[in-house]
C-alpha cells in the first residue's frame, strides 16, 4: 500500500506524463523557417507549434506541457536566449535545441551557457533534430514499459 502512495507524489506523477502527448515548440523570428520545421514535425505526427514571437511561445508553454523547444537565437520580440530563460522558469528541465543563421562563435558560447541539447546552424538538419526527439521520446517509452511491469515502481 505505501508503494502505491509513493506513486501519487507530484514528482513521480509528472514524470510519468506521456511525453508523446507534449508539445514541441518551434520558435524563430523567421516565420517561414519556423513553419518548415513545425511542418516536418506535424507530418511526423508530433504536436508542433510554430511561433515567431517569444510572447506567443510563452503563452503556449503556460497552457501545455512542452516536451521540447527548438528556439532560434533571433525572435521578433526578444532574443532566443531570453525566451529560453523564461521557458525554464516555467519548465526547469525543458530540453532545448538552439538554432541560428548567425555563425559567429560568440553566439554559440552564449547559447551553450543556457544548457542546451544541441546547437545547430540553419538550415536545420531535420535528420539530426529527429535524433534529439527520438532520444527524448525513447526515454519516456522506457519509463512507460517499466511502469507496466509488475513490482516496485518509481
Amino acid at each position: 500500500m505505501p508503494l502505491a502512495l509513493n506513486l501519487l507524489s507530484p514528482t513521480a506523477v509528472s514524470s510519468r506524463e506521456s511525453t508523446s502527448a507534449r508539445w514541441i515548440l518551434v520558435a524563430d523570428g523567421d516565420e517561414a523557417a519556423a513553419n518548415r520545421v513545425a511542418g516536418f514535425l506535424l507530418h511526423a505526427r508530433f504536436r508542433a507549434y510554430p511561433a515567431a514571437r517569444g510572447l506567443d511561445a510563452l503563452r503556449l508553454a503556460r497552457r501545455h506541457r512542452l516536451g521540447l523547444a527548438v528556439v532560434d537565437v533571433d525572435l521578433l520580440d526578444m532574443t532566443g536566449c531570453d525566451l529560453v530563460r523564461q521557458l525554464r522558469a516555467i519548465e526547469p528541465a525543458l530540453p532545448v535545441v538552439m538554432t541560428t543563421g548567425d555563425y559567429r562563435p560568440t553566439t554559440e558560447v552564449e547559447a551553450r551557457q543556457l544548457g542546451i541539447v544541441q546547437y545547430t546552424h540553419k538550415p536545420v538538419d531535420l535528420r539530426r533534430l529527429g535524433l534529439v526527439i527520438a532520444r527524448i521520446f525513447a526515454a519516456d517509452a522506457e519509463l512507460r514499459l517499466a511502469l507496466d511491469a509488475p513490482g516496485p515502481g518509481g
Binding site: 500500500m1 505505501p2 508503494l3 502505491a4 502512495l5 509513493n6 506513486l7 501519487l8 507524489s9 507530484p10 514528482t11 513521480a12 506523477v13 509528472s14 510519468r16 510572447l55 510563452l58 503563452r59 503556460r62 531570453d82 530563460r85 523564461q86 525554464r88 522558469a89 516555467i90 526547469p92 530540453p95 555563425y103 562563435p105 554559440e108 558560447v109 551553450r112 551557457q113 543556457l114 544548457g115 541539447v117 544541441q118 546547437y119 545547430t120 546552424h121 540553419k122 538550415p123 538538419d125 535528420r127 539530426r128 535524433l131 534529439v132 527520438a134 532520444r135 527524448i136 526515454a139 511502469l147 507496466d148 509488475p150 515502481g153 518509481g154
Partner: protein, 449 residues
C-alpha cells in the same frame, strides 16, 4: 492582490449584471461595458487583470475588442464568450490571443475556476515581463540554503576546492541541487568571469555527442554548413558541468579522458586540434563506483573525475533545513506571484517535515509552488498541500483511530487516485499499479462511479 480587476464587455445588459454580481461575490472589482468603444476607452486609462468579452456585439465585435486589448496590453488575458459557437470564430479568437472561450449560458463553477486560472497566468506573465537576469544569476551561492551539518560540509568543501582547477565529482539524488553546487564552485573559482556551460549527458543522442562536445567544421557531414565550437571550446576559460555523467557513451568516455589528459580537442571533420582550458565538474545520481564495477563507466575516467568528491545529502537527511528552504521559496514565490504569504501553518510544516520528500528540494519547491497556484494567501496551510495529505496520512493509524480495513483503505486510495487524475482511468490505474480492467472492477466493487 486582494481585488483583481475584471472588465466585462457584453451588449446584453442582463448578462453584464449577472456577471458583475457573480464576479463581485468572488471578490473581483468589476467594470462593465456594453459596447466595444466603451471597453477600449476603459482599458486606456485603467489597468485590468482579466477581461470577459462577448463575441457578437453591434458596431465593434468581440474580436476587434480583443485586438484592441492585445494592442494596448498584450499581457491582459481575455476570455471570449459566445451563445453561438462557431469553429472559425473560436479558432480566430485563440489565434488572436484569447485565453479561452466560454459558451453561454455560462456555468458559474466553470467560470470561477477559469477566472482563477487566468489570474494566475496574469501574475506569471508580469513576472516574465520583468525578468532580466541571466539564468546564472538565479543560481547564486546563497541559493545553497541550509545550516545542517551536511550542507555546511558541502559549502566548506566548495570553498576549499573552488580555486584549484581540479575536477570535482558531485554525487546526490535527483533534486538535491547538484547544479547549484557546481555553479557555486564556478562562482568562487578564478574562472568566475568565464563561461559556465552545463551539459545534460543523458539528453544528447549518442550520434550527436562528438559534434556537440568537440564541434565540427564546415562540410564534416551533410548539414554542417559552418564551423561550430562545441561544448569544450565554448567553455574555454571557464567551467564545464557534466550532469548525469554516467550516461556518456563509451566512445565519448574515452575521448573525454583524452581531453582531460591532453587538454586539447579536435572538431569532427578536422585535422586541427585546439587547446582548451576548461575546469570539469561532473555530477551523477548514481553510485559511480558501482557503475564502474559493472563495466558501464571507465575506471580510468572515474579516477580522473573523482579527484574531489562532494556528496549532497538528500533532503530527508537534513530536515532541519526545511524551514529555511521554505522561507527561501516563499520569498521567491511572493515576488513571482505578487503575494504576501507571511509564513506557514504549524500543521503544514509538521506534515512537510514528516514526509520523506523523495524528490528532495525540487519536489519541496513544486509543492510550495502548487500551494500558491491553489490560492495560498496569508500563510501556507495544510489544505494547500493536498498531495501531501494523501501521503503523510498514510494508513498508519494512531492509537485513537481504528485501523481501517483493507477494503476501506483500498477504496480510499482508489478514490484519491481518481480525484488526482480527474477520472482518467488509465493514468490512475498506472499510478496504482493496476491494469485498467482491474481498476474498473474495483470501482464497480466499491461503487465509486
Amino acid at each position: 492582490m486582494d481585488h483583481p480587476r475584471v472588465l466585462v464587455v457584453d451588449d446584453d445588459k442582463d448578462v453584464g449584471e449577472f456577471l458583475r454580481d457573480a464576479l463581485s461575490r468572488w471578490n473581483y472589482d468589476v467594470s462593465l461595458a456594453t459596447r466595444g468603444r466603451e471597453a477600449v476607452r476603459l482599458i486606456s486609462h485603467q489597468i485590468f487583470d482579466a477581461a470577459l468579452v462577448d463575441i457578437w456585439m453591434p458596431e465593434m465585435d468581440g474580436l476587434q475588442v480583443l485586438d484592441e486589448i492585445k494592442r494596448h496590453d498584450p499581457a491582459l488575458e481575455v476570455v471570449m464568450m459566445t451563445g453561438n459557437p462557431m469553429v472559425e470564430t473560436a479558432v480566430q479568437a485563440l489565434k488572436s490571443g484569447a485565453y479561452d472561450y466560454l459558451i453561454k449560458p455560462l456555468n458559474l463553477d466553470e467560470l470561477q475556476h477559469l477566472m482563477q486560472q487566468v489570474l494566475e497566468k496574469r501574475f506569471l506573465s508580469r513576472e516574465v515581463h520583468s525578468l532580466r537576469s541571466r539564468l546564472a544569476d538565479h543560481l547564486a551561492v546563497k541559493d545553497l540554503v541550509g545550516g545542517s551539518p551536511g550542507m555546511t560540509r558541502v559549502k566548506e568543501v566548495i570553498a576549499t576546492v573552488a580555486d584549484s582547477d581540479s575536477p570535482v565529482l558531485i554525487e546526490g539524488e535527483s533534486g538535491t541541487g547538484k547544479e547549484l553546487v557546481a555553479v557555486a564552485i564556478h562562482r568562487q573559482s578564478g574562472r568566475a568571469k568565464g563561461p559556465f556551460v552545463p551539459v545534460n549527458c543523458s539528453a544528447i543522442p549518442a550520434d550527436l555527442m562528438e559534434s556537440e562536445f568537440f564541434g565540427h567544421v564546415r562540410g564534416a557531414f551533410s548539414g554542417a554548413v559552418a564551423d561550430t565550437l562545441g561544448l569544450f571550446r565554448s567553455a574555454h576559460g571557464g567551467t564545464l558541468f557534466l550532469d548525469e555523467v554516467a550516461e556518456l557513451s563509451p566512445a565519448l568516455q574515452g575521448k573525454l579522458l583524452r581531453v582531460i589528459q591532453e587538454k586539447e580537442i579536435r572538431p569532427v571533420g578536422s585535422t586541427k586540434t585546439h587547446a582548451v582550458s576548461v575546469r570539469m565538474i561532473a555530477a551523477t545520481n548514481k553510485n559511480l563506483e558501482a557503475v564502474v564495477q559493472n563495466g558501464s563507466f571507465r575506471q580510468d575516467l572515474f579516477y580522473r573525475l573523482n579527484v574531489v568528491r562532494i556528496v549532497v545529502p538528500p533532503l530527508r537527511e537534513r530536515k532541519g533545513d526545511i524551514p529555511a528552504l521554505i522561507t527561501y521559496f516563499l520569498r521567491r514565490f511572493n515576488e513571482r506571484f505578487r503575494r504576501d504569504v507571511k509564513g506557514i501553518a504549524p500543521d503544514a510544516i509538521t506534515a512537510l517535515t514528516a514526509y520523506d520528500v523523495p524528490g528532495n528540494v525540487r519536489e519541496l519547491e513544486n509543492l510550495l509552488e502548487r500551494a500558491y497556484a491553489l490560492g495560498a494567501r496569508d500563510e501556507i496551510e495544510r489544505a494547500n498541500l493536498p498531495e501531501l495529505a494523501a501521503r503523510s496520512d498514510a494508513p498508519v493509524a494512531t492509537v485513537d483511530e481504528p485501523i481501517p480495513t483493507l477494503d476501506q483503505a483500498e477504496r480510499d486510495l482508489i478514490a484519491r487516485a481518481l480525484a488526482r487524475f480527474r477520472n482518467d482511468k488509465e493514468q490512475a490505474a498506472r499510478a496504482l499499479g493496476l491494469t485498467v480492467r482491474t481498476l474498473y472492477r474495483r470501482i464497480k466493487k466499491f461503487g465509486l462511479i
